[in-house]
Symmetry: C2
Subunit: 219 residues, 2 copies
DNA sequence: GTGTATATCTCGGGG
DNA sequence: CCCCGAGGTATACAC
């Protein structure tokens, strides 16, 4: 990892055209070759960047970074205040918990918390426009497609509606209904779901985990 | 801007729970107080971060960053390799060209390039499920809703279809048609648009700009 | 502030 | 390789 602090001008041409007027900024060059230009505010996004794989050509006060997609980042260094390099090694990586995958797993294990009598057919049931989170059977011979979200918003309802449209074409599955399951559901998403004939169910992530551990204690 | 390179362990608890095992990383603290932890690969995203506004408490080998939303980032420093601070000042900011907003502006100024005789009613026309990019009148007393995208894909067509559904409920606007306008439109989006009775029009951004400057030259 | 749409989104998974 | 979907998405903008 190389860290340069410099008065610089930056031009990017690729997916769009962008220009950074002359100012003092931090330039990060990582081991995989990717380059990021940061201002002194806004944690997440660099002002300009170029992802790996790319080629960095370091000329006389000018760096030219190009990639195979034809994008081009030109950094003109007017005044270099700091320039240092560190060996960091490979990072062991981030361990996460509490994202959609966990919620989906919990509901796959006990779909009946969403509606009495549901049994899982499979997770990530494939359709020609993408996989349905959970496909279940109800006790009356019908099929229920379930879309799981952490936060339930309009686009999630649309996504489920698209799947239902496809699944209903399969005579082995008909009739097919939908359940939209999320930790929180916005009123707008609720309204759209109602208009599409889709049930909207808020689920309690913490509560589900407790049910899990509670049942385990019975053994 | 403060730059620290250190052997560290990081724990985040907030919207999810995440843990970074001990390793050598770069820690960036910006003037607005936000903190980012970077590994030596992947240009864009930090491994962990905390956005402003927040509070950084620097203890004995441990930094605790908290924010008003109840999120908490704890960085344990095992070995500090580098620690330096730079004054960068306020950045003049990024100048962009070629994003959706530009295209929308160009088409708002001359909607007739999409279809002969169209006149603008207004940009960002509000509905109860979100704003329509452009609402236009055609010469026959009808209304045309236009969704503008840089790259036209399926979800953009769905978005326009949703708006059309709502707009058609307003007797003052009927009949309402849709035009899906983008620099490039995928075959899938084109097919879906056709199925929904929506016209799909590819527009030439460069060409539109030239038309603009060309007409200005007439004065 | 809430809600919606955009992004040079990034990133990862599956065919 | 593209396509699709998730993200602690972040960010801008309108109401």
């Amino acid at each position: 990892m190389r860290i340069v602090v410099a008065e610089c001008t930056v031009d990017y041409q690729g997916r769009l055209t962008a220009h950074l007027p002359r100012a003092r900024r931090l330039i990060m060059v990582k081991a995989d070759g990717c380059v990021a230009v940061h201002a002194d505010g806004g944690a997440y996004k660099p002002l300009n960047w170029m992802n790996a794989p790319n080629l960095l050509e370091e000329g006389d006060g000018t760096w030219v970074v190009t990639n195979p997609k034809g994008e081009r980042l030109v950094i003109t260094l007017h005044d270099v205040i700091h320039d240092s390099t560190f060996e960091l090694g490979i990072d062991p990586g981030l361990q996460k918990d509490g994202v959609e995958a966990n919620l989906q797993q919990l509901l796959a294990d006990r779909p009946w918390v969403l509606e009495d009598g549901l049994t899982l057919i499979r997770r990530e049931y494939p359709t020609d426009i993408g996989p349905v989170d959970l496909l279940c059977a109800d006790p009356h011979g019908g099929t229920v497609a379930i879309e799981v979200k952490r936060r339930g918003e309009i686009d999630g309802v649309e996504q489920l509606a698209r799947y239902l449209e496809r699944l209903s074409l399969d005579p082995r599955l008909r009739p097919v209904r939908g359940i939209f399951a999320a930790q929180q559901i916005t009123p707008q998403a609720r309204t759209l779901a109602a208009a599409r004939g889709i049930a909207a169910v808020e689920v309690d992530y913490e509560g589900l985990q407790e049910v899990d551990s509670g049942e385990l204690r019975l053994f």
